[in-house]
């Protein structure tokens, strides 16, 4: 059976066409991925009997224009707002500015870092002999050329003040994440040998033996790529590191084919979609909007419980490495954290806990939360400077 051909597009008046393009524009503003082909099909729908009632037209448009669950959920509101003038259109735009000015955004944190403003960071901050260290470690940021990477490598992120050096460190963090991906995949591809015979290639190779397949080429199940799931602590105590870690995570997401990112403080936010934005600054803006209220306290246990309950089944498979970037200062109960860590451990291949405090002199993981979590962690490593981030790569490559 074929549908009645629709070729009455000319019957539609210019006014209606304009209205439709307006609707498509407002959808695009709201983050819908709608192309020309869709607009054309929508025009066809307007000529079909479906358009006789607004209700059936709505469900037809919904099927056509939506591409994902988030679109699906906001479509009704957008449709009503546009076609019947109900509701407020502007309230749904994704690229707006934060309404709560009192909340810190990631961008503000990034800027603040350059000029060293210790605001909320004070709650659990302890910096032994910071003043002396600072003079010694201070990045000679003015030095030019290739050496800048070297000097920056060993400097603790919290000692970076010079905006230029900060920018450079961010860039390096992102580049580091990029290079990790390349090496990891190359290794993966060379490892294809296994039980099944690859006949196509066997025949190809038999040519040199006069057509007798002597050399057998085999193929096996393809290795699953390592998937990285990053849980980034964005609480007040991590203030000094949040900005640069965010860049690092952005780099990872941009380059690992399979990666997911979550941000947590007192609650957990899934930020992969925001960070999939290519441009780092825009990605951070979007993430900042999603993660209102960063820079406050931490409830790692609760955030992990949330993760296990709602996201783990979807984002974790057998070749997943969960990377937690946190200092382990938790205002929740340590027991709850231990339970959730145990649950997480059962699901994934490895848990890597990166703690920037390890880089501090004389640091012992004595905080209650950290103590509770440690037995379930496969790798407990420092992450206070670029060198320590780079040191991760060989570990991940072996997984």
């Amino acid at each position: 059976m074929t549908a009645a051909p629709i070729d009455t597009r000319d019957d539609i008046g210019t006014a209606l066409r304009l209205r439709l393009t307006g609707f498509v524009h407002s959808l695009r503003d709201s983050g819908f991925k709608v192309g020309l082909a869709e607009t054309n099909d929508a025009l066809a729908l307007l000529c079909s009997p479906l358009s006789k009632r607004s209700h059936s037209l709505k469900s037809a448009f919904r099927a056509l224009f939506c591409g994902r669950l988030s679109d699906w959920k906001k479509f009704d509101e957008l449709f009503d707002a546009y076609w019947s003038g109900k509701g407020v259109k502007t309230g749904i735009k994704v690229s707006g500015t934060s309404s709560k000015k009192s909340m810190k955004t990631i961008r503000e944190l990034m800027d603040a870092q350059g000029t060293r403003q210790d605001t909320i960071a004070g709650d659990v901050e302890r910096q032994p002999g910071e003043e002396d260290e600072e003079t010694g470690d201070k990045p000679s940021g003015r030095r030019e050329g290739a050496s800048i990477a070297e000097t920056l490598g060993s400097v603790d992120f919290r000692h970076l003040h010079d905006p230029e050096a900060v920018a450079k460190a961010h860039e390096l963090a992102e580049r580091l994440a990029r290079s990790m991906r390349v090496r990891l995949t190359r290794r993966d591809r060379q490892k294809r040998k296994g039980p099944r015979l690859d006949l196509r290639r066997t025949i190809r190779h038999s040519i040199s033996h006069g057509g007798t397949p002597i050399e057998l080429i085999r193929k096996g199940p393809r290795e699953r790529q390592l998937r990285l799931v990053v849980l980034l602590d964005a609480s007040g105590s991590m203030n000094n590191y949040t900005a640069v870690f965010t860049r690092f995570v952005h780099g990872i997401l941009d380059n690992f084919r399979e990666a997911e990112a979550f941000l947590f403080h007192t609650r957990l936010v899934h930020v992969s979609s925001a960070l999939s934005e290519r441009d780092a600054a825009r990605a951070l803006d979007r993430m900042g909007l999603m993660a209102q209220g960063i820079g406050g306290g931490t409830k790692i246990g609760e955030a992990l419980a949330d993760f296990n309950r709602w996201h783990a089944a979807r984002v974790i498979h057998s070749r997943t490495c969960v990377m937690i970037l946190s200092d382990g200062y938790d205002t929740g109960a340590p027991d709850a954290l231990a339970d959730e860590m145990a649950r997480l451990r059962r699901r994934c291949k490895r848990i890597v806990w990166l703690n920037p405090l390890i880089g501090w002199e004389g640091y012992e993981p004595t905080a209650g939360g950290m103590q509770a979590a440690l037995p379930h962690v496969d790798l407990f490593a420092p992450a206070h400077n670029l060198d320590s981030l780079a040191a991760l790569e060989p570990y991940l490559a072996r997984l």
């Binding site: 059976m1 629709i6 729908l45 099927a63 699953r224």
Partner: protein
């Protein structure tokens, strides 16, 4: 012949699938616009059933491609029958055929193995093509799929391009284990299949479980709705409800609140992990039953 969506929904019910209004519209559009339909939703809400019901309704063949990690061209589109080709070459070794003739013979239709996607576009009557759990396949595969779904043709280097003899109705399902590419999403119509409302679930039960009376079906459906709101590791789907209803009917339950023990004992049909079974105790069951009564 063109249908309205009410007719379509009614015809679907006759095949045993109770569709909501949005889904009926979406199915109507797949035909009108010749676009594939992407169904997303939790496991067990009946996404695959949509394709089966549609095939039954149209009297068309259902061609199913189950996706998995590592699925590639040779498993999904076509493959040469290498063993036969090798044999054919060996058999001709003594004869006077020149290389070109042999090559032509060996790379002919006879030695081509059709896989689901190629098979689907070469049917004379348009089949329903179900690409199940497309999120499990790799991104590369998504790219092939895009090519086939937009042009309905397959190019085989040795044979040339195979054009579709008929355009299949394509239904893709996804559980959301991986984010699908925007390109694929844009190509497809989209419908999110949610857990059915109590009313619709009861209608599904009535059409699927013989010997079930309406009052009991409604009770079961309501109880399932409540159960899904509990904090469960694995939320039971519609298939589980159907199993459970069949079990209850088989064991002779007439009214749920009156057969508490039976309800509790048969929850094994619905709760599929140890944690969930531990969580839904007799007390919880009683509380849920209390709400239903």
């Amino acid at each position: 012949m063109s249908k309205t969506k009410e007719q379509l929904a009614k015809a679907l019910v006759e095949t045993g699938y109770v569709a909501d209004e949005g889904l009926a519209t979406a199915l109507l559009l797949t035909e009108m616009l010749n676009r594939p339909l992407l169904l997303e939703g939790e496991a067990g809400v009946g996404k695959t059933e949509v394709a089966k019901a549609l095939a039954k309704l149209e009297g068309a063949d259902l061609i199913r491609l189950q996706c998995y990690e590592g699925l590639d061209r040779s498993d999904a589109i076509y493959e040469w029958n290498y063993q036969r080709q090798l044999l054919a070459i060996k058999a001709r070794e003594g004869s006077d055929d020149d290389a070109e003739t042999v090559e032509e013979a060996v790379f002919s239709e006879k030695y081509l193995l059709e896989r689901p996607l190629l098979a689907a576009i070469r049917q004379i009557t348009p089949p329903v093509l179900l690409i199940d759990e497309v999120d499990r396949a790799d991104e590369e595969f998504e790219a092939f799929l895009l090519e086939i779904l937009s042009d309905y043709q397959v190019s085989i280097p040795e044979l040339g391009t195979v054009e579709a003899t008929s355009i299949p109705r394509v239904i893709l399902t996804s559980n959301g284990t991986r984010e699908l590419s925007d390109a694929l999403r844009r190509r497809c119509l989209y419908h999110y299949v949610d857990y059915p409302s109590a009313d619709r679930e009861a209608r599904i039960l009535l059409s699927r479980v013989p010997g079930l009376d309406t009052a009991l079906a409604l009770q079961i459906a309501e109880l399932m709705g409540k159960l899904r709101k509990e904090d469960l590791t694995k939320v039971p789907g519609v298939a589980e409800t159907i199993d459970w209803a069949a079990a209850l009917v088989g064991l002779g339950a007439k009214n749920l609140p009156e057969s508490r023990e039976l309800v509790y004992d048969t929850l094994v049909c619905v709760l599929k992990t140890r944690e969930d079974q531990a969580r839904v105790t007799q007390e919880v069951t009683d509380r849920l039953l209390g709400k239903v009564a």
